[in-house]
Symmetry: C2
Subunit: 226 residues, 2 copies
């Protein structure tokens, strides 16, 4: 089945305390977003890559591509004011319903080829596959001023990629945005689909805070030693 | 109020794929456990430090202390077969009920002095203070083959230190161990006490897997630059 990936890179630099949007920050001399895109291209060089960027960042991205001689073929489209709108804009570029599409955070450059392959394979079989990991820490539910201990084995933390048959995710995204849409899995689930979780990896971090950049440099060294 | 800290270092090297228990692995040339202990000593050099170690690791620890000329005064006691038993063994060494005790993972060496100070201060006021952070990722509840999207703002991931008035935690630990005791907060909560959450930090990682050691080296560099 033909494969697409929508890479969502909508974040600003606010949490990063940086004027540069975090997806453009460099690790090991290469912008985070280029590393992320390269992973999917390395997995399948026939994959259709759709990059969703805030309109104001598109010129910056094009300059970076020139500077880094980045030549992986991608389609760029502009993001919306929410993640939901951004993914919807990406989906609008896919006219092949008999295909599978991954939605992936632009700031998760350490996703392994194994995780990508497994999530595409499972989605082809089950209609969807959402990458998640077990909790390492204890968890509590917070209610006003109180909190209650829970069993961490009852929960999973969700990462990306989140992979779906195109017809399924397009139908799910045809609704009005809900306030409980925190990721693609929640949108598809709201359309009555059972979500299939597949095993992710602790290395597949989302780069959102300044210390994450240091961690990213460390993971880069780790992976180059492997 | 007088302060104690029980440092629990019961882990084996199994998840680390290492023959050396993870608390003895070095980051920046210094065993993780020594770094953890040093943080509390740095916060308050009059604090009573109780280290709970598996009996089989005590000789190794003593050799490491010689090798690294580690001279921070601590009391060492042997751990039990569960974390509950280990903490209980540590508590047995405290004969001052009008004091505050932190329980802390031996493999969380990056706890900041601010987090330690704040949790001790809050515990002195409220009777307890448990360090926790907001979730960065989406979360799902897993039920057999299914899973359900939840609102991540309803949850917190729990770290250590978990700080308690000595009389409160001793009473809570006087019961038979329950299967739902995942940390000290859950034990104290089972005794009818409302848990007070205080803000932790994403840098306060628990070193449990091989990639965590790389991340730890990176965090060490980050903190030495600050």
């Amino acid at each position: 089945m033909h494969q697409y990936v929508i890479i969502v890179a909508g974040g600003s630099g606010s949490r990063m305390k940086s004027a540069v949007p975090k997806q453009f920050l460099e690790i090991g001399g290469v912008p985070v977003l280029m590393r992320t895109i390269s992973r999917f291209y390395q997995y399948n060089n026939a994959i259709n890559i759709i990059l969703v960027l805030p309109e104001s960042d598109i010129a910056t991205w094009q300059n970076l591509c020139q500077k880094h001689s980045f030549r992986i073929p991608i389609q760029v489209t502009k993001g919306g004011t929410t993640r939901f709108e951004s993914v919807k804009n990406g989906l609008a570029l896919i006219d092949n319903d008999d295909a599978v599409v991954a939605v992936h955070d632009g700031v998760r450059p350490f996703v392994s080829l194994e995780v990508i392959a497994n999530s595409f394979n499972q989605a082809a079989t089950y209609g969807n596959a959402v990458v998640a990991v077990a909790l390492k820490d204890s968890i509590r539910r917070v209610e006003r001023d109180q909190s209650i201990a829970l069993n961490r084995n009852d929960f999973k933390l969700v990462q990306t990629p989140q992979v779906f048959r195109v017809d399924i995710i397009k139908k799910a995204y045809s609704v009005t945005e809900g306030t409980d849409f925190t990721d693609d899995a929640s949108v598809v689930e709201a359309a009555g689909i059972t979500i299939k979780l597949v095993e992710g990896s602790y290395e597949n971090i989302k780069i959102t805070t300044p210390e994450d950049l240091f961690i990213a440099e460390a993971l880069l060294r780790l992976q180059s030693e492997e």
